[in-house]
């Protein structure tokens, strides 16, 4: 398989890598860059565990070719707060929105993206936005609550 050179920014850092042209972004992140916060749980776009932000928009890294992110900006869960915790992370910890934690990176990135698009989402809007992310542990309620609380705080901040 041919390899191609790609240059992209991950969590603010410029990276240059040689990747196979059929290589998936999830594998490059997890295996080449050791960014294992991005999780594999289905590989077919059904669970959302592998969500990352591409130019600030959520994508499923298990369905994204690494060569397609050439020249682009990627944010993974490791990159959302420089120091300490981001408000969404804090809210997840406070509201027990985390059990086993395997869906959490994807959920938090989706929540971040939602709050950027819509700083004050209703409960239904949150549910709708997160519906592609499977969580087998929490029953979602505390995740939704955590996001809702951020939404309100977010507004107060402004």
């Amino acid at each position: 398989m041919k390899k191609a050179e790609i240059e992209f920014t991950v969590n603010g850092k410029k990276r240059t890598l040689f990747v196979k042209t059929n290589e998936l972004l999830i594998n490059v992140l997890r295996n080449d860059l050791n960014l294992t916060g991005t999780k594999y749980a289905c590989g077919i776009g059904e669970c959302g565990a592998c969500t990352v932000l591409l130019e600030g928009r959520p994508v499923l890294s298990c369905l994204t070719l690494a060569v397609d992110v050439n020249g682009k900006n990627i944010t993974t869960i490791e990159g959302i707060s420089k120091d300490g915790f981001d408000p969404v992370q804090k809210s997840f910890l406070k509201n027990a929105a985390v059990q086993c934690g395997f869906c959490t990176p994807g959920m938090i990135l989706m929540a971040k993206s939602l709050l950027k698009e819509n700083p004050n989402p209703t409960e239904d809007e949150i549910r709708d936005y997160l519906r592609g992310n499977i969580c087998r542990c929490t029953g979602y309620t505390q995740i939704i609550k955590a996001v809702k609380e951020c939404a309100n705080n977010h507004n107060q901040d402004k």
Partner: protein, 788 residues
């Protein structure tokens, strides 16, 4: 819930495991070792076939390391070793030696530098099969002329014959069942089916194995019990235990799926030993679905009661279709008997259980270990009985439940104890007020396309498997507690945290005993079988009651050592000293009673002990709990049935839980709500049917066609109420019992009863899918038309 006298317990804290929100938490599938190889597994395309030959030559030419039946030990074992050896059935080897018994069974495995090259090598393995007739159904399987999966297996060291695919049998009788039914005025007799489902834990099973220079191995794996993995690997590969080290590592969900050693773990070890290189094996989801499923259950239940609602008899005949391996069907049958016998006072009991092999994916424990499966028949039958008696379903339950002071054998007939704390009545009474039970009307009075109904169901689980006398299940835990030189505390235990916050509770317990602030207690990964003492497994809802019981014991011993050292410093007696938490200092302090201003911090004492070479303030405990108190649950579920589409929504639910002292209020709620979501999945949509022509799953291994609930199906935040019963378990650490598995036991039952209340149709087979609902509604209409 907040209790003033505690400093940590029952208080709301942020989750300790912060790596889970930053992406830094390491799961088995995240372990990357320099130079490691990647493994993939060749799986059987047939449900039942003789393996005529396996040819690895071409595959090996690619440079890959390959293993098949000749490369793995001959030892026949059971991957689950919590039953005492005499009660452990064994029927498997690391890779099958003579035949495959289910589609997706591992046949060979390959390790190479990349996953891609490993897959390429895998394609070059040639396996010649001779197809055998396969069975997928218990009735078929038990016929004498049907194809047999096994001619013999081992029970302990004894070779036993298998006939008619019956893996094991368990019959239990209490008093006189015939007399019981003679005394009954009303009898209910029905058959129910609870389906097999896939656990769908989010992390697929994974193992990394590093062969060490001394011939030993280091393992990171998805497991609920590191010590059992170590002991089994020692037996299988004949490696002394001190040379095997299994790391405790965060688990991306299990729900019972990793209760036994994962089937891929010894495969990964065999590859690593042959390759003399670290090997990583992460199961693709499609493989994982073919690796394990939950036990299904068919129940023929017959119950009898007097006119006033007093129960007189309960008879259950159950069949469990276990798939291709007997992982733990024998204790499972025992527990089903226990869940049944300990729900209501049947007085006269007869129980007949059979476990039957089929050519399907092997089944294993799933949250509740059979309790949801038997709860559905029992709680439906109780509602049917109430209707026949003209009695309120809650009244019938209140009259007959097994409660405080009663004998209880939740974990099966060999583990009996007395119930000392019980919130059943409080939950039934308070819950019924909250849901508005008195306004509930019968289905016959409902009209329109959209019909609502309310259903109740209750259940329980044991907290651990301990009893006054040790039973058939090994049950003890251990922990090391250590005060560091700055007054902070380390808790070291093999206990796993499934996500329910067991580690946070362990830290709270240590904090509480030693009066150290919660944030000064560490309970971190990086411990392993070498640095921890034995803990049987984090199963049976035993994390808090048993595992944290051991932490409490260790912390109490540490407190003694601490006070002895402090006594030397104060030139006083330990019993004259007081240990309290000083929140301002963020430390525990000790002072002579009545002289708080003379305090010394625990940090100072520990530091002095170090400087003066007195030694470390530490203790390692090993604790067998002599009870397994029931944690009770009650659900009041409201459903909304769309009679045009067959779809069912859940507008509202009241969840009541009895865990004694609630250690971790937010995660406790999370456990219950999470279980509710799983239980509605079981009741409404989840199933993994087979195509019996091909022996493959209809979903073909893809979760595209195995649906679990998403964010949109749960009731809204304000329409979910989770409330605790106000109880205190005298035998538990700080009054606590468990919750995790109890929470699932009655969900689907309350759903089924609610559906009945909405549309007047009783469903006997789960799940109640929209298709089934529409069919049943149509049949009901047709019947009505005929009558008219």
């Amino acid at each position: 819930m907040e209790n003033k006298q505690f400093i940590a317990i029952s208080k709301r804290f942020d989750i300790k495991n912060v790596g889970k929100v930053t992406g830094k938490e390491i799961y088995a599938s995240d372990v990357n070792i320099p130079g490691m190889m990647h493994a993939v597994v060749l799986r059987s395309p047939y449900p039942h076939a003789e393996i005529k030959s396996i040819d690895l030559t071409e595959a090996e030419k690619t440079g890959a390391i390959c293993i098949s039946r000749d490369d793995v030990p001959d030892l026949i074992y059971n991957e689950r070793i919590v039953s005492i050896p005499d009660k452990t059935y064994k029927d498997r080897t690391v890779l099958p030696k003579d035949k495959v018994r289910h589609t997706g069974e591992a046949v060979a495995a390959v390790a190479a530098d990349t996953e891609e090259t490993a897959f390429k090598a895998l394609e070059k393995i040639k396996v010649e099969y001779k197809k055998l007739p396969a069975v997928f159904d218990i009735d078929e399987a038990m016929k004498p002329d049907t194809s047999q999966l096994y001619s013999y297996v081992y029970l302990g060291d004894k070779k036993i014959d298998i006939e008619n695919n019956i893996a094991c049998v368990r019959n239990i009788s209490v008093s006189d069942i015939d007399k019981g039914f003679e005394e009954a005025d009303v009898i209910v007799e029905e058959t129910f089916n609870v389906q097999r489902i896939y656990h769908m834990q989010l992390e697929t099973k994974s193992t990394v194995c590093v062969p060490e220079a001394d011939g030993g191995i280091t393992i990171w794996t998805t497991t609920q019990g590191i010590h059992n993995v170590r002991i089994l690997l020692g037996e299988i590969f004949n490696i002394p235990l001190h040379k095997i080290n299994v790391k405790r590592i965060t688990l991306g969900g299990s729900f019972g799926s990793s209760i036994q050693m994962n089937s891929i773990t010894p495969i990964c070890v065999a590859l690593a030993l042959k390759a003399k290189s670290p090997v990583k094996l992460v199961m693709p989801r499609e493989d994982d679905i073919y690796d394990h499923a939950s036990y299904p259950l068919r129940t023929k239940i017959k119950i009898g009661a007097k006119k006033d609602g007093t129960l007189t008899a309960g008879h259950c005949k159950v069949w469990v279709e276990i798939g291709a391996h007997n992982i733990q069907a024998y204790p499972y049958l025992g527990c089903i008997a226990g869940w049944f016998a300990s729900l209501y006072k049947w007085i006269n009991i007869k129980y007949e259980g059979k476990a039957v092999y089929t050519n399907k994916t092997p089944t294993c424990a799933r949250r509740g270990y059979g309790s949801p499966q038997i709860n559905f028949p029992v709680e439906n039958a109780m509602d049917i009985l109430a209707e026949k008696l003209g009695m309120d379903p809650i009244e019938l339950r209140l009259k007959n439940y097994v409660g405080k002071g009663d004998e209880f054998w939740g974990q099966g007939p060999t583990i009996k104890s007395i119930i000392r704390s019980c919130g059943v009545e409080e939950m039934l009474v308070e819950g019924s007020k909250l849901i508005g039970w008195d306004k509930r009307i019968p289905p016959s009075e409902k009209t329109g396309d959209i019909r609502r109904g309310i259903g109740v169901a209750r259940g329980f689980h044991t907290s651990g498997t301990g009893g006054p006398n040790p039973g058939e299940v090994i049950d003890y835990s251990g922990a090391t507690v250590k005060i560091n030189e700055d007054g902070s505390v380390d808790v070291v235990t093999a206990l796993m945290d499934h996500g329910g916050g067991t580690w946070d509770v362990a830290a709270k317990v240590a904090a509480e005993v030693l009066k150290v602030p919660f944030d000064k207690v560490g309970i971190y990964n990086g411990v392993d079988t070498r640095t921890t003492v034995f803990d049987v497994n984090t199963h049976a809802t035993r994390g808090v009651y048993c595992g944290c019981g051991a932490v409490k014991l260790a912390a109490e011993k540490v407190k003694k050592i601490l006070l002895n050292y402090a006594a030397t410093l104060f030139k006083d007696l330990p019993e004259n000293l007081e240990l309290v938490c000083n929140e301002e200092l963020g430390q525990a302090v000790v002072y002579p009673k009545g002289l708080p201003e003379k305090y010394k911090t625990v940090g100072e004492i520990a530091k002095t002990a170090q400087i003066k070479s007195w030694g470390t303030i530490a203790y390692t405990s090993s604790l067998r709990q002599k009870n397994c108190p029931p944690c009770f649950i009650t659900y009041f579920t409201e459903v909304e049935v769309n009679t045009k589409t067959g779809q069912i929504k859940i507008p509202r639910v009241i969840m009541m839980g009895d865990s004694g002292t609630i250690m971790n209020p937010e995660l406790w709620k999370g456990q219950i709500i999470g279980a509710f979501s799983q239980g509605i999945g079981l009741g409404y949509i989840e199933e993994i049917p087979y195509d019996t022509n091909t022996g493959k799953l209809k979903c073909n291994g893809f979760i595209t066609d195995f649906k679990v609930l998403t964010t949109t199906e749960m009731p809204k935040i304000d329409d979910i109420k989770v409330l605790p019963a106000h109880t205190y378990e005298p035998t538990g650490p700080f009054g606590a019992k468990g919750i995790g598995e109890a929470a699932l036991s009655a969900v689907a039952s309350s759903f089924g009863n609610a559906v009945y209340n909405a549309v007047g149709i009783r469903f006997y087979d789960l799940p109640i899918t929209p298709e089934k609902m529409l069919k049943a509604l149509k049949e009901k209409e047709e019947k009505k038309d005929k009558k008219e």
